[in-house]
Symmetry: C2
Subunit: 301 residues, 2 copies
Amino acid sequence: MTNPIIGFIGLGIMGRPMAGHLLKAGYSLVVLDKNPVPVDELIALGAKKASSPKEVTAQSDVIITMLPDSPDVEAVALGEDGIIEGAAAGKIHIDMSSIAPASAVKVARALGEKGMRCLDAPVSGGQVGAQNAALSIMVGGEQAVLDEVLPIFQAMGKTITLCGANGAGQIVKACNQVQVALNIAGMCEALVLGAKAGVDPAIILQVLGGGYAQNRVMDVRGPKVVRGDFQPGFKSRFHFKDLNIILRTGADYGVELPVTTTVHQLFAELLDSGGGDLDHTGLITVLERLAKHEARTRIDG
Amino acid sequence: MTNPIIGFIGLGIMGRPMAGHLLKAGYSLVVLDKNPVPVDELIALGAKKASSPKEVTAQSDVIITMLPDSPDVEAVALGEDGIIEGAAAGKIHIDMSSIAPASAVKVARALGEKGMRCLDAPVSGGQVGAQNAALSIMVGGEQAVLDEVLPIFQAMGKTITLCGANGAGQIVKACNQVQVALNIAGMCEALVLGAKAGVDPAIILQVLGGGYAQNRVMDVRGPKVVRGDFQPGFKSRFHFKDLNIILRTGADYGVELPVTTTVHQLFAELLDSGGGDLDHTGLITVLERLAKHEARTRIDG
């Protein structure tokens, strides 16, 4: 596909900079978002706008969606005035949102019946990765389709991995969010235990970071957590959303995830206590409150 | 302390190579273990043997213990014919076992009343770290005492960190084992979820290892876990022991550790099913069995 026209639906904190990189790379862009601010910004940089996903699709060769959750993607793709109503053979839909694998499969099938080809391509790397065109992109779908749109991915990301058939990108994203959640939970429980026992948290980070306990979350976020800085990063309500998807997917595939389930409960408590806009490492505040509520005897050692 | 005579009690898979490094570094050694094999080996290399902790202590300036669990250390240090019966002012006791922080404090106090100075100095790095003199040593006690025995630690380890007062070394070791357990649990739940959904586990490791999900356990052990190789490494029954200490210590300090508690239950199931001698990453076999026992419908996506 030479010089494809790209439709871009969803211009939030991730989609806005991603679309910007596509413009910079020389692609023609048709954009859509409920919020006029990023739409106008991108128009000023040379993009056109459309009034519905149907219209975006009719005007584009490749349609990218970057939306909050599964129902949003299903509505934009399959709902009234959706992508499906502008569908035509040969067009490619790339959903870069993080959604339920089952939704990804459903959308790919429905659009596939209209002759479209689909990829699920969720990302990791967060807002900073989106701004720096350094995202890791996890792709589900056919190799041939990926080959066709590879330059588009390369304008937004650094690592692009074909994970399997449609839905596999979302599965690997789910696996990623399991491990990130447990990296966070481990750091938080370790720091609260150590701090309540009187050890300097900086020493805990230093020792743990030098051995088998090391993980990227602790390397990057540990010092901020110790300072009580929970400026996101990645908001805990988004990780909670991902954990909902993960547990539903586990249930779909008959996989019990007892540790992830426990972390999910802690994130629910974090959101209940008003911490949804904190960085996901703000999970430590839940553990700190639990520790405060305890009324057992203490060692004075 | 110039040319101290070192007593070494506990010559298991960790203690045996650690004592060997001290001999190689030129120290005079007095050794003790129930098992005559490592004792005879070290005698052949120039060590002397003694018949009780009391006798080891009487003949040594610095007494190192490297034993399985808290009751073993308390018995050797404070029991009949124990270190305390050979104690004298100026001698130093270094406990390098991984035990309950409360036990470390108890032993340090009791020996302190006899004029001895004490350090808790648990290690991480496992059997390979012990063999290569590459252990990370977490020290609790006074800086001046650490300064005095630093060359001894340097003969066995690469990273030596003073963590705080007596017991602080054990606290940081506990924190370390929390995070290692959660690194493992995350890898295991991610791999089981991904594999049951039909994704190649090698791809999961590759993608997760390149981003925020990265952790040292996955880097080192992930490929072995995927091959079903659970040759230790670090046996799950030792990690289970550490988790028992951690939960007890959490209770002592009024700290709830909900995620670690869930992992502890999974390790209990692993031991119940006869997996105590597997590497601690063998935890994945528990999750695989749970997934098999599920009888829910599956997506065919």
